[in-house]
């Protein structure tokens, strides 16, 4: 069983990322469950999506210490869910930072040197400047697909399967730019 968590800020496109991942896993013949967040927390709140695949999946939720991979769209969200990482698991962290409202209002401070601190705790982290790569691909909104590319290169699913999952999930109008974003992430 492979347990993957996608964490980020509502509006960053984590839902699409989880759907591409789910489509790739199912094309590979696995049993799959994808758990999403809809409703209030989507409004700029902390969002987490779970993707689990293997011979037979029961719970759609990944628990603390169970994630093989955490794909984080934002640093503070990576930090928030670091305790979900399995010993020996990997974190793929987009280095973008988005201030939450308590930081904006001055009620709290955004923690410093998050990636360094998590490494000191023993987390295996690959940090990615997904925003720059997305811009390089031609659309800042393809951050999610860049990160899926980074994940794909480290998964037990063939690249062709990822590419057809991308084709099935992304609107045709945006397929080219998303393919480019995927490649930039994949080849990182």
């Amino acid at each position: 069983m492979t347990n993957i968590m996608i964490v980020g800020v509502g509006g960053q496109g984590t839902l699409l990322a989880s759907r591409i991942l789910g489509a790739a896993a199912i094309a590979n013949g696995y049993d799959v469950k994808v758990s999403e967040v809809h409703g209030m927390s989507q409004r700029g709140g902390s969002v987490v999506t779970y993707v689990k695949y293997g011979d037979k999946v029961y719970s759609p939720i990944v628990g603390e210490g169970e994630a093989d991979i955490i794909l984080a769209f934002e640093q503070l969200e990576a930090y928030r869910y670091a305790n979900y990482l399995k010993k020996g698991g990997k974190m793929l962290v987009n280095i973008q930072k988005t201030n939450p409202m308590p930081v904006i209002t001055g009620a709290a401070e955004y923690p410093k040197d998050i990636i360094e601190k998590m490494r000191q705790k023993g987390a295996d982290i690959i940090d990615v400047d997904a925003f720059s790569l997305a811009c390089e691909a031609g659309n800042a909104k393809t951050v999610n697909v860049v990160l899926i590319g980074v994940l794909a290169a480290r998964s037990n699913i063939e690249k062709d399967i990822w590419l057809s999952a991308l084709e099935d999930t992304v609107p045709p109008k945006f397929l080219e730019v998303n393919k480019k974003a995927f490649e930039l992430g994949y080849n990182l």
Partner: protein, 581 residues
């Protein structure tokens, strides 16, 4: 091999209803149930609609059922309260065509104001309830529910929960069954619920419940999975999935029909194992049933009836095992949801806070106005409550108090159950000021049309409710329509309307910033005029923050709505958008 499809639980319920030949679906949106009806709307063969509220939705489905069609109504757990009146009596009348009511609970309150357990409604309304544990079951159980409804002459409840509704798993699609309309038969003894007839039907309901109890004993959805006999687990729905991971070797009794519960099946299962655990979220419904049967079970003595479970939580409660994890001790800031950049409600709440008004609030995106820095909502209870509560406060403390109090309610919520509150204010000589936040859509649940938008669920143009005419017909003589981003004028109107000794309505009109046809200017920038007075921070926009002592606008978030430009006194925010008009 036929390919299975990855599908949300909600989409699978829609698929099941489609394949069962459902003809009429009427619902009101509410997380986590909304996507069922949105998916239904994609099938051309099914008539479907957003009703003004859950009560009307269920009444439409009941009428369709009496008329001989298979019908369904879908809602969230608190929506079932609104629909409770028709529900309890539809239990007596029974059905014509199959009638299914789908209710989605929200354990953990991901997007709700309480976490009531709908199984208790099934018990008290004496309506059979099924509970699927994944998307495939969502489809199959829904199909079967229509068949059971017709066979036993009863509505059937299907209970979902957030993690079932919003999880995707594999589903095998089938063909749509061709179900003919049943003949319409006038049957007053069955359909006119006056005391004499209703009493006879109550006798019928009790007989039916006995029949259903027999069905529960060998229902295909109540399944024994025999493994090791040391531990036996009784569970249902999403809790079953968690329990399967916690107890991989145990024997299971998986209940798919959770009202009424089987008796002999449970007794036999309990006898076949040494120790019985009941794993269920929220109320101890299965557990209490077991205890009445004299079975010694472990359940709520080690597991909470608050919030949702996780595998780790159950494992710790049962085996005392804790997951070995990376521990971060540093406190970190929360990331609560916020009003989006460009949200029209931001203007409203900025002014409400500035004037220091007490705000009786309601359910929708704008409930986020309760959070810092806007912090301008004093109470929020249920759909439509803002207006009645404001009136109650006035009657408790007098009209002087009312001058510093307003009710705030969204357009869809006002149509849902705010209108009657406004009638009460006029009828009983209140003087409250009610602000209707008209953002031209039902926002929080993800952009559904409602009777005020002028479009149906299928996007067809229709008559939209004219809020101004409606309010004046009720008897409100002071109705003002205003753009909440015009903060100077809005403040002036608010001062006037709260001061007058009669009820008034302010319609704050500006479309949701996320609607496709809403176009603002380019992202804005802070220029050299900025004195870091932080006035722009008071609007609580997620795009504006102070970084290293300087105010900055995050270009990836800013939509150029220019509300910040209107509150800036130093002309320090530029490009796109206009100054106050």
């Amino acid at each position: 091999m036929i390919m299975k499809k990855l599908m949300l639980g909600n989409a699978a319920v829609a698929r099941g209803a489609y394949e069962a030949g459902v003809r009429v679906v009427s619902s009101y949106p509410g997380t986590p149930s909304t996507e069922i009806t949105e998916e239904i709307a994609k099938y051309d063969e099914i008539y479907c609609e957003w009703a003004p509220n859950e009560k009307v939705a269920l009444e439409v489905a009941i009428g369709a059922s009496f008329a001989g069609a298979r019908a369904m109504s879908c809602m969230k757990h608190v929506g079932l309260n609104v629909a409770a009146d028709p529900l309890y009596t539809a239990s007596y009348t029974g059905v014509g065509g199959g009638l299914v009511v789908c209710v989605a609970d929200d354990q953990g309150m991901h997007s709700s104001q309480n976490e009531q357990d709908s199984r208790l409604v099934a018990i008290s309304s004496k309506i059979p309830m099924l509970e699927p544990a994944d998307s495939e079951e969502c489809k199959i159980f829904t199909q079967k529910a229509f068949e059971l409804s017709e066979k036993y002459d009863t509505p059937i409840l299907i209970r979902l929960s957030t993690r079932i509704s919003h999880s995707q798993s594999l589903v095998q699609e089938g063909e749509r069954e061709n179900v003919e309309l049943k003949d319409y038969v006038k049957d007053t003894a069955k359909y006119v619920m006056m005391p004499a007839m209703a009493m006879k039907r109550h006798h019928y309901v009790e007989r039916r419940l006995d029949d259903m109890r027999k069905l529960a004993e060998d229902c295909e959805f109540n399944v024994v999975e025999k493994k090791d006999s040391k531990i036996g687990v009784i569970s249902a729905g999403i809790a079953y999935q968690y329990a399967k991971e916690v107890f991989p070797d145990a024997s299971f009794l998986k209940l798919g029909m959770i009202n009424p519960l089987p008796t002999q099946l449970i007794l036999d299962f309990a006898k076949s194992v040494e120790k019985v655990y009941v794993i269920e979220e929220l109320e101890p419904v299965i557990e209490n049933h077991c205890k009445v049967l004299g079975i010694d079970v472990i359940g709520k003595d080690i597991l909470s009836n608050i919030g949702e479970f996780s595998v780790a939580q159950i494992r710790e409660a049962v085996f005392g095992e804790k997951a070995d994890t990376i521990k971060i001790e540093e406190p970190m800031p929360n990331r609560p949801p916020v009003m989006c950049a460009g949200c029209p409600h931001r203007g409203t709440f900025y002014v409400l806070k500035k004037l220091g008004l007490r705000v009786s609030g309601d359910i929708g995106c704008y409930t986020l106005g309760a959070l810092a820095p806007l912090s301008s909502m004093d109470m929020c209870v249920c759909m439509g409550a803002s207006i009645g509560m404001a009136h109650g406060m006035e009657k408790a403390r007098g009209s002087e108090f009312a001058r510093k109090t307003v009710a705030v309610i969204g357009d869809s919520t006002f149509i849902h159950s705010g209108i009657t509150g406004l009638v009460d204010i006029v009828y009983n000589k209140g003087t409250s000021t009610v602000i209707i936040l008209d953002n031209s859509i039902t926002g929080m649940t993800g952009h559904q049309h409602n009777p005020a938008t002028g479009f149906t669920i299928k996007g067809e143009p229709t008559k939209g409710v004219d809020l101004v005419k409606l309010c004046s017909a009720i008897g409100i003589d002071r109705v003002t329509v205003i753009d909440p981003f015009n903060i100077k004028k809005f403040e002036q109107v608010l001062r006037e309307e709260t001061e007058v000794d009669e009820p008034s309505v302010i319609i704050a009109q500006r479309p949701c910033a996320l609607l496709k046809d809403v176009k603002h200017g380019k992202p804005l920038e802070i220029n050299e005029n900025c004195k870091v007075c932080k006035a722009c921070m008071k609007i609580g926009c997620p795009a504006i923050s102070v970084i290293d002592g300087k105010v900055e606008i995050d270009k990836s978030l800013c939509v150029g709505c220019a509300l910040c430009v209107r509150v800036c006194r130093f002309n320090a925010i530029g490009a796109g958008g206009a100054k106050d008009d």
